[in-house]
């Protein structure tokens, strides 16, 4: 029977994967993909807590729904930014966007 810790471990590993993508990838869309993974991991945590720690309230699921919504908004705006940047700077690779590099 998977208990709370199992779900927490899964979400931790998923979070670490998303973190790796955010820190390591060059393509800005790939970075946004990493962010989505991290948000998913957080959602798993929320729902798991709802079931195992506080079954009486539904706040966990409500919270997860809101997070999904906001993730969608953020992905939309983020990708719009990537498009706008691509139009001006001709690149999506973040290490080539270095106008402020010393």
């Amino acid at each position: 029977m998977p208990g709370l810790t199992h779900y927490l471990v899964v979400s931790a590993l998923l979070f670490a994967l998303g973190l790796f993508a955010v820190v390591t990838r060059r393509n800005s869309v790939a970075i946004l993909m990493g962010v989505e993974l991290m948000l998913n991991a957080a959602n798993i945590n929320l729902v798991a807590f709802n079931k195992y720690v506080a079954p009486g309230a539904m706040q966990g699921q409500i919270f997860a729904l809101i997070v999904i919504t906001l993730a969608a908004c953020e992905a939309a705006v983020g990708l719009a930014l990537v498009l706008a940047a691509y139009r001006t700077l001709e690149t999506v690779y973040v290490d080539e966007i270095n106008l402020m590099k010393w």
């Binding site: 973190l19 955010v22 390591t24 290490d95 270095n98 010393w102």
Partner: protein, 628 residues
């Protein structure tokens, strides 16, 4: 007057302040204000002396600070010792100040001279009236400062500037020793006032070798200030200052302060076991007396001869105090002040006329300057101890005290007396007798003084001659005040229980006179009758001549030790400062720079780095929280 005697030093101080504030605009360009200050002080001093002779006494104290539970009081004391010194300083300083009007006439820095003179007079009078170690030390430093200012009065001359510095630094060594001594005394007796200190010492608060050490250290200050061996090197060079300065400071008053200090703190010296401290005093005095006299024999500069003479006579005074001849030492101080001031002022008159200090270029001045010459001769007779002049009585008492105490010291003193007559006779001969050897005084290099002489030297102005005459009167007649045949009133006035001068005995008297006359005869033999001419002596004993002319090489030794060896130490310290201390400071700066250069790489301008750092920070925080 006695109760308000503390006003007396304030009169020349007020003169100093006025001259500093408005010098050139004052009457006589400051000279009259200065004269007024010191003459009034002198009159005050004579009044005080009169009252103290009739038995008055004053002791004014103020609480200066409260240290824990003990109040520290300072104040002034008027007793026979300070009264006689007040009168002497007042009279001699007045005469010298009046004389300076003539001597310094035409000098561009005339007001400054009188300002410094007044400041010095204040300092000396303040020192005399002190009843505690603090005030006497303060006065000590003040007179040292004024000596520096006045020796270096013509500071544009490098020799004068150097001499002033040499005087200050050499006496500073002595002052430091004195300070240590005072601190030891304060530590053990808990007070700075003389009477409290002496009471504590009687009660045993300070005894044994430590007491001797403290006394000798305090005497160290006197060694410096009174130019005793080994701190004597500054006095000959101090003759770079104007002659009134030499007369006032380096003959009559400041150098006498050392003797006064020993007299004032006499109980301290008496309490030393086996009179060890007094023996030190006596021997240093005796050695100085003879060493200085030997150096005076080969000196050609008239002021330097008198400087060596002063050094030698101060040695006599210390000798007198050291052999328990308290009265004798003080009596010689008083008489010496008058005739030495006379001699210096006379020398100044001569220098003023011939524009040179070198005796070999003088001569025949007895005819050209009769007043100067005869007063000078009177002073010389007093100095060499020919009766019935003043110096005879005082020097004889010193020698009598020495004879009764320690024959070795008496021998030193007697030899010194012989040499004194010898070099003074030589001086008289070269300066006043014969024919004038100098050329046009304008052609010879000036001694620094503004108005030179004329083609044929002539007598000085009345303002310079009058003080000479007055001092000569003292030189002739003052000795009778201490004459035993008249009951020695001086001794009844100034004495110290346990240090009475034993009567000398007629044989010793005759011996002293004979030695002095023998010195004169020797001088005559060498210079007047030329039985053994000086050139012969110089060729026979060249090494002796060189030794004396180079002042026993003491200056050279000091230069090597302090400037040579000390210079090495100083250079090492400089290196330490530059490389270690500055190095540490520079290291701090260098370190900051290196850290900055290193940390610079964090600011990459690239967002992936910043993201990495954010998460790295989170991890660090969590780990720290978990582990700690």
């Amino acid at each position: 007057m006695t109760q308000v005697a503390w006003i007396i030093p304030l009169l020349p101080l007020a003169a100093f302040v006025l001259i500093v504030a408005a010098g050139p605009r004052l009457p006589g360009r400051g000279a009259y204000v200065s004269i007024a200050g010191i003459v009034l002080a002198g009159i005050g001093g004579l009044l005080v002396l009169g009252e103290v002779i009739r038995g008055a006494h004053a002791d004014v104290t103020y609480t200066w600070a409260v240290l824990g539970a003990r109040p520290i009081t300072v104040g002034f004391v008027v007793d026979p010792l300070s009264a006689i010194m007040l009168a002497m300083v007042g009279v001699v300083a007045s005469l010298i100040t009046i004389y300076s009007v003539g001597y310094m006439a035409g000098d561009p820095h005339y007001p400054r001279f009188f300002a410094y003179l007044s400041l010095f007079q204040f300092s000396m009078l303040f020192l005399i009236l002190a009843d505690n170690f603090l005030f006497i030390y303060a006065g000590w430093e003040l007179v040292g400062l004024c000596s520096y200012l006045l020796i270096g009065f013509w500071f544009e001359r490098p020799a004068a500037a150097r001499a002033a510095l040499k005087a200050f630094i050499t006496t500073r060594v002595g002052d430091f020793s004195m300070m240590i001594g005072i601190l030891i005394i304060f530590l053990h007796t808990g007070s700075l006032r003389f009477d409290e200190v002496f009471r504590s010492i009687q009660g045993g608060a300070l005894a044994g070798p430590l007491l001797t050490a403290a006394a000798v250290l305090v005497f160290g200050g006197a060694v410096g200030k009174s130019a005793q061996v080994p701190l004597h090197v500054w006095l000959p060079d101090a003759m770079e200052g104007p002659t009134p300065v030499s007369a006032l400071i380096h003959a009559a008053t400041m150098v006498a302060a050392g003797v006064y200090l020993v007299a004032r703190t006499y109980p301290l010296f008496l309490a030393s076991p086996d009179h060890a401290a007094l023996t030190v005093v006596a021997y240093i005095g005796g050695i100085t007396a003879i060493v200085a006299a030997t150096m005076g024999v080969v000196e050609d500069d008239i002021k330097r001869v008198l400087a060596y003479s002063t050094m030698s006579q101060l040695g006599y005074m210390m000798l007198g105090l050291g052999v328990l001849g308290y009265t004798a030492g003080m009596f010689h101080l008083i008489t010496h002040a008058f005739f030495k001031a006379l001699l210096f002022l006379g020398a100044g008159s001569v220098i003023h006329a011939v524009a040179t200090n070198n005796m070999k270029q003088m001569g025949g001045l007895a005819r050209a300057m009769p007043w100067t010459a005869w007063t000078f001769i009177a002073g010389t007779l007093a100095l060499t101890g020919i009766p019935p002049f003043a110096g005879f009585f005082s020097k004889d008492q010193v020698l009598a005290a020495a004879f009764a105490h320690d024959r070795v010291l008496w021998a030193l003193g007697a030899a010194g007396a012989f040499l004194t007559s010898l070099y003074m006779g030589r001086l008289i001969w070269y300066t006043f007798a014969g024919t004038y050897r100098g050329g046009d005084p304008h052609a010879t290099p000036d001694g620094g003084h503004g108005a030179g002489g004329h083609a044929q030297p002539h007598e000085s102005s009345a303002v310079m001659v009058a003080p000479l005459v007055i001092l000569a009167v003292f030189a002739v007649f003052l000795g009778w005040v201490g004459a035993e045949s008249l009951g020695n009133p001086f001794e009844r006035f100034i004495h110290f229980a346990g240090a009475e001068t034993p009567p000398g005995g007629f044989g010793l008297l005759v011996l002293s006179i004979a030695i002095a006359v023998a010195g004169w005869a020797a001088a005559a033999a060498i210079y007047v009758w030329r039985i053994v001419p000086s050139e012969t002596l110089r060729q026979a004993l060249p090494w002796a001549y060189t030794l004396l002319a180079r002042r026993y090489y003491v200056d050279d030794v000091y230069a090597w030790v302090f400037i040579g060896v000390g210079g090495v130490v100083v250079r090492l310290a400089g290196l330490f400062d530059r490389y270690v201390i500055d190095g540490l400071v520079n290291l701090a700066g260098w370190l900051a720079r290196q850290v900055g250069l290193g940390l610079r790489y964090i600011q990459t301008g690239r967002e992936e780095t910043y993201l990495l750092l954010v998460f790295l920070g989170v991890i660090v925080i969590v780990v720290v929280r978990l582990v700690w």
